[in-house]
């Protein structure tokens, strides 16, 4: 045992101790309170305030100890007063200084000792506040701090004794005591509150109130200090006096108080505390260099104290206090230190709590997530130990077994399955465990009376040292999938059989046009074995121009969904292996196979059908001409005799001649009707739609049919008429409908009766009615009335003398007008009616600028964005334009001013662009207007045209306008070299060839070709300045000649005028200057095209303008 040596200042020390006159005085609560608190706070059985006298230590206060003194030689405190730092002995039995100390060996059996020196005013160490335990223990940093705090309190108590000497001083001491008392009170209250409370906020609030009360401050805060990502400190309050002084700050306080207000500004009085970690006293804040950060309206700040809060060496928070009437001083800081320390400990505890809480929370969350994932899997998941006992199974596993999860846990496969299944499962488990690797495969298990196929996976689980401790398995029921696969295979076999035996050729291609399969019929049609074409581009089965265009069609379809043949049947030309071409029907459908886009084409060779069609057309032509020629003589002769040219006839002869004459008339009508029907059915009936006023047309029809009605003693009466109403109509065709309805009405009216006609106008519909007083139409005939050769009473044909085709023709005509035809009938008469959509001029469109002689383009485009782009591009090239967003606006603008050309979107909101073109071509002023179609639909021959390889001057329709043709030809010739221009006319119709030659003989030297091959021969032999080209030739399309017209080394390209034979068709390419495909043409190309059209048409339009005016 080491006796405690005497400190160097022993004499002074003893003198100071004596002067306190405290030795051997009675117990005092002010000291006992400290030892009690120390024992409780630091959880030791014994706490003592010991004063070291010359040869003893005397206990001023002792908690948990009976003795009042011990000899100095055996005292621990004698050692403790030698140093400034507390003496801490964690286990006295291990410390050579104390191991054999009697206080260690016997009562009170000290194992742990921690003694903090207590100093007199001059710094002499009088004794200690010491903690004693009978068990070894450690003193944590917080405990050490707590001990220090309490020692300081004890020291102050001791020092205060000195001050008791004078009365004045005494009162100060009492005040100090009171405050210390309050402080201690606050500390103990706070600590017990914190231990009891789950929510720390009220504790901090109370602590703040204590701080304010203890310092007599007006307001303040307690905040925790955090660090931002870039290591800047910031503070979040745990308690703050509500200083809100207006709505805004009140709202701010209310919104943020729950989570704590955050302060980031370091250039404030309290910011300095955060930044430096030092206390801050500012008794004149207004002049303080760090006074920043006080907002307008903030209550006045007269004095400020900022206290940093340390937990160990870590700055964990700060306290800010304001407006103590006397200001703050260093002493105040020292005085508040214990309270500050408590506060720091609270913040630290709060921090630890938060972290622990966070870790638990995240563990719980991840477990929940995992469980949710497992429970929502549609696969079975299980974990078994090495004995096969189930450790874990998910919901699906339990559901499959029809058991709840708990009853599965701990069971082996032998307890869950019949033996033979369990054997299988066990064997498979063993494979995975032996292989120490993932094992997958299909397995079939009988479950709920059915066989189920599972795709199962097993893999061993390894512990940290690499040993297998369990087996994890998953099993997915693939019974349905297997069944589907089976069905699919079967259906594929069936499909294959159909494909192999079907008569139509079936070809599948992928999205870039590569042929993937070809059925036997397709092999036969094209003459290729499948092996020769699969893997090659489908273009090889197409002649020009489709060959070159095909990639474009596919591209367009895939990018824009624009179907040329997709989903609809279409007649195209196929190319056989031997190089011959043939007409075929092609129907293509697109299929989406996962990510892949596939196309299936069904091909039928229609060479035979085309031949029959041609024969039928020829036959109709023969009927038309050959029947009419003799009929002309018959009808003429009979007409003359009946008309009395040969003098008066005997009555009987007269009646026989009349019969013959009437029947020859009927035969003529029949032939005409048959021709009309044939034209309607083949889509060849031409319509010349013009805005037509309907009232005069109806009146004219009445007049024209008056004499016919008179034969039956029937008159017409127009009951109601609507004036000024127009429809877009073909006048002649509509007259035909009126004639049919009027003659029918007359025929079926009783003699001396009146057929009433009315024309009315409801909304945007024009309604025409023809009503007779006849016997009505029998009900059984109602649904056949518009069929061909339909007559109510076939025995009555002589009397009624109709062809039975009239209503069928009328219906087709009305429908072509976009209208409807119908009837109502009863015993007292029948009304036939038809409706036509009204045609209306639109309101005045807005035109940007006054008309000028400058070239001006009309842009007809419903997409405003495209229209504006186009307008901008044109403007940049000095071309003015107006924009029409609808067909009606375009019509109005065209009526108002002359345009050099127009661009046209085929898809317009109020009309089909093709209809508009037809209207323009029919109109006097617009028939020569160059039209550039901006289409999303690619057209045949488009690649040739678009590429600019051949210059197409214009497209002409048959029937053509002679002047227009001559003008075009002359115009095209202007660019030809001087001398007699040579013109090649490619046209299969001999009559038409003659007509063209006659028309053009003065303009040029005309050569003719009737077939494609003849034209080819001529074009390779001779040079022509212009070619007039019919598209429909007996041995192919005229467009096939276009490549021949391309420029060669010695000659420029030969311009062509396309001259189409098809009267009506949706293929409008022949009507326009060029067809440009929206998605494939740049604005520059477009402007170039338009400029070219303007140049070539300039002289044309101006001459025409002057000619018209």
């Amino acid at each position: 045992m080491l006796k405690p040596p005497k400190p160097a200042d022993e004499a002074t020390r003893l003198a100071a101790l004596k002067s306190l006159q405290v030795l051997d005085t009675p117990d005092e609560e002010r000291f006992d309170r400290i030892t009690r608190l120390a024992a409780r706070l630091l959880d030791v059985p014994i706490a003592v305030i010991s004063l070291v006298d010359s040869d003893r230590q005397w206990f001023k206060s002792k908690y948990g100890l009976d003795a009042s003194e011990t000899p100095r030689d055996v005292s621990f405190c004698g050692h403790a007063i030698l140093h400034d730092e507390p003496l801490v002995v964690t286990d006295a039995t291990l410390d050579p200084r104390f191991a054999d100390n009697p206080l260690v060996a016997a009562e009170p059996c000290i194992r742990f000792y921690a003694g903090h020196p207590l100093e007199a005013v001059g710094g002499s160490k009088l004794g200690t506040l010491c903690l004693i335990d009978r068990q070894p223990r450690q003193l944590s940093e917080a405990d050490r701090q707590c001990l220090h705090d309490l020692a300081m309190l004890a020291q102050q108590e001791l020092c205060s004794i000195t001050l008791q000497q004078t009365w004045r001083e005494k009162s100060a001491v009492e005040e100090e005591l009171r405050r210390s008392h309050d402080l201690l009170d606050a500390i103990s209250r706070t600590q017990s509150r914190f231990i009891a409370a789950a929510d720390p906020v009220p504790v901090f609030n109370e602590l703040l109130s204590d701080f304010l009360a203890l310092t007599n401050s007006e307001y303040g805060f307690i905040g925790e200090i955090f660090y931002t990502g870039d290591n800047q400190p910031y503070m979040q309050t745990h308690a703050i006096t509500n200083l809100a002084w207006n709505d805004e700050t009140r709202a701010f306080y209310d919104d943020n108080i729950a989570t704590g207000l955050k302060f980031y500004n370091l250039n404030t009085l309290f910011g300095r505390v955060m930044a430096t970690g030092e206390p801050m006293i500012a008794n004149h804040p207004a002049s303080h260099p760090h006074r920043g950060g006080i907002p307008e309206g903030h209550p006045p700040l007269n004095a400020f104290l900022g206290l940093p809060l340390y937990s160990g060496d870590t700055l964990v928070g700060m306290v800010g206090l304001a407006n103590r009437p006397d200001g703050y001083d260093e002493k105040m800081i020292a005085h508040l230190q214990p309270m500050a320390n408590t506060c720091a400990n609270l913040i630290q505890a709060h921090r630890t709590d938060r972290q622990r809480h966070g870790a638990e929370e995240s563990l719980r969350t991840s477990q929940q997530q995992l469980q949710t994932v497992l429970d929502n899997l549609t696969s079975v998941v299980y974990v078994k130990d090495l004995q096969g006992r189930t450790l874990l199974v998910n919901n699906e596993g339990a559901r499959r077994l029809g058991l709840d999860r708990q009853s599965i846990i701990g069971k082996t496969e032998y307890e869950l399955f019949p033996k033979e299944i369990a054997d299988t499962l066990h064997a498979r488990d063993k494979v995975a465990l032996d292989a120490k690797a993932v094992v997958s495969g299909e397995e079939t298990l009988p479950l709920d009376g059915k066989l189920h196929t599972f795709l199962s996976t097993r893999y061993p689980l390894f512990d940290a040292s690499g040993n297998i401790y369990a087996l994890c398995g998953t099993a997915t029921d693939i019974t349905e999938r297997k069944k589907t696969e089976e069905e699919l295979r079967e259906s594929e076999t069936r499909m294959r059989a159909i494909l192999d035996n079907v008569l139509d050729g079936i070809i599948t291609i992928n999205d870039v046009g590569t042929i993937e399969s070809l059925n036997p019929a397709a092999e036969k049609i094209f003459g290729y074995p499948a092996a020769e074409v699969t893997g090659k581009n489908v273009k090889m089965l197409m002649p020009e121009p489709y060959h070159s265009g095909h990639d474009g069609y596919l591209g367009n379809y895939i990018s824009g969904g624009d179907a040329k043949v997709i989903g609809i049947g279409r007649e195209v030309t196929g190319l056989r292996k031997d190089g011959s071409t043939f007409p075929m029907d092609l129907a293509v459908s697109g299929i989406q196979l996962g990510e892949r886009r596939m196309f299936t084409g069904i091909v039928r060779d229609i060479t035979e059908r085309k031949k029959i069609d041609r024969m039928k057309n020829e036959f109709v032509s023969v009927v038309s001409h050959e029947l009419r020629t003799p009929l002309t003589s018959i009808r003429g002769s009979l007409g003359l005799i009946a008309g009395g040219v040969a003098g008066a006839l005997p009555v009987q002869a007269k009646s026989l001649i009349d019969i013959a004459h009437n029947n020859s008339e009927r035969l003529v009508r029949l032939i005409n009707d048959i021709l009309d029907i044939e034209k309607i059915e083949s889509g060849k009936m031409a319509f010349d739609f013009q805005p037509t006023e309907i009232a005069p047309l109806v009146e004219e029809a009445l007049q024209a049919n008056q004499s016919y009605a008179a034969q039956y003693g029937v008159g017409f009466r127009l009951d109601q008429r609507a004036f000024g109403v127009k429809a877009l109509a073909d006048r002649d065709r509509l007259m035909q409908v009126m004639a049919n309805l009027l003659s029918n009405a007359a025929k079926y009216s009783p003699p001396d009766n009146v057929v009433t006609v009315s024309l009315s106008h409801r909304g945007r519909v024009i309604h025409v009615e023809v009503t007779d007083r006849g016997p009505g139409i029998p009900a059984e005939f109602h649904n056949r009335i518009f069929q061909k050769f339909a007559q109510a009473d076939s025995s009555d044909t002589r009397q009624k003398s109709g062809t039975g085709l009239g209503l069928s023709i009328s219906k087709a005509i009305v429908e072509k007008h976009g209208g409807q035809i119908g009837f109502t009938t009863g015993p007292n008469g029948t009304t036939f009616y038809f409706d036509l959509p009204e045609w209306k001029e639109m309101a005045e469109p807005a035109v940007n600028e006054p008309a000028s002689s400058q070239a001006r383009i009309l842009v007809c485009e419903d997409d405003t964005e495209v229209a504006n782009q186009l307008a901008t591009a044109l403007a940049e090239n000095g071309i003015a334009c107006d924009i029409a967003y609808t067909a009606n606006q375009a019509r109005r603008l065209l009526a108002q001013r002359r345009y050099t050309a127009m661009t046209l979107d085929l898809v317009l909101p109020d009309a089909d662009g093709t209809e508009l073109i037809r209207e323009l071509r029919a109109g006097e002023a617009t028939r020569d207007l160059p039209v550039i179609v901006l289409s999303v639909k690619p057209r045949p021959g488009q690649t040739e045209l678009e590429g600019g390889a051949v210059e197409v001057v214009d497209w002409l329709n048959k029937p053509f306008d002679e002047q227009r043709l001559v003008r075009l030809v002359k115009h095209a010739m202007q660019r030809a070299p001087s001398g007699k221009p040579r013109l090649l006319c490619v046209e299969d119709d001999a009559g038409m060839r003659r007509v063209l030659s006659a028309v053009l003989q003065n303009t040029a030297e005309v050569a003719c070709a009737g077939t494609l091959s003849e034209a080819r021969r001529l074009l390779t032999q001779e040079r022509y300045d212009l070619v007039i080209l019919d598209i429909g030739l007996p041995d192919g399309s005229g467009l096939e000649l276009l490549p021949l017209l391309k420029s060669r080394a010695d000659t420029p390209h030969t311009p062509a005028i396309i001259f189409s034979a098809q009267e009506v068709g949706t293929d409008i390419a022949r009507e326009v200057e060029a067809v440009l495909i929206k998605s494939r043409v740049s604005n520059q190309d477009l402007v170039k095209k338009i400029s070219a059209v303007i140049d070539t048409n300039k002289s044309l339009s101006y001459t025409e303008t002057s000619a018209v005016r």
């Binding site: 038309s624 001409h625 020629t629 018959i634 003429g636 007409g639 003359l640 008309g643 006659a998 028309v999």
Partner: protein
């Protein structure tokens, strides 16, 4: 407006020619020179000096359009009105004939009782 009196007519079908002759002369009161071919009509024209020419389209040898072209080649008949008579009366065909310079097309079979009236109307229209 001059009164229409002299018509040169070409038609290869004798029956039709006969009917037309009665219709125009007996009923219509016109003076008709009926020829059996285009060639005959062209040859007859300078002597007959027709005020109007009526031509069948489909004729062997020189057809209607060729006859018209030949007549136009003779200075006196460069502007004589010509009407085609034909059984081919598709709208496109009618347009083609008009493009050649015919003032109108009369479809076959025609009504002999009104033929002269029809021709007079066309004549009046072309002079109006």
């Amino acid at each position: 407006m001059p009164i229409l009196q002299r018509i040169l007519y070409a038609e290869d079908e004798a029956d039709i020619r006969a009917v037309a002759q009665i219709a125009l002369e007996a009923i219509g009161g016109l003076t008709l020179r009926a020829c059996g071919s285009g060639k005959e009509a062209v040859e007859a024209a300078p002597e007959f000096m027709p005020e109007l020419v009526l031509l069948d389209v489909m004729m062997p040898g020189m057809d209607g359009p060729a006859t018209l072209a030949a007549l136009r080649g003779i200075p006196e008949f460069a502007a004589t009105p010509v009407i085609f008579m034909t059984a081919k009366v598709q709208p496109s065909e009618i347009a083609a004939y008009k493009a050649l310079g015919a003032i109108d097309v009369i479809p076959k079979p025609f009504d002999p009782m009104t033929l002269a009236t029809t021709i007079r109307q066309v004549w009046e229209k072309s002079h109006g």
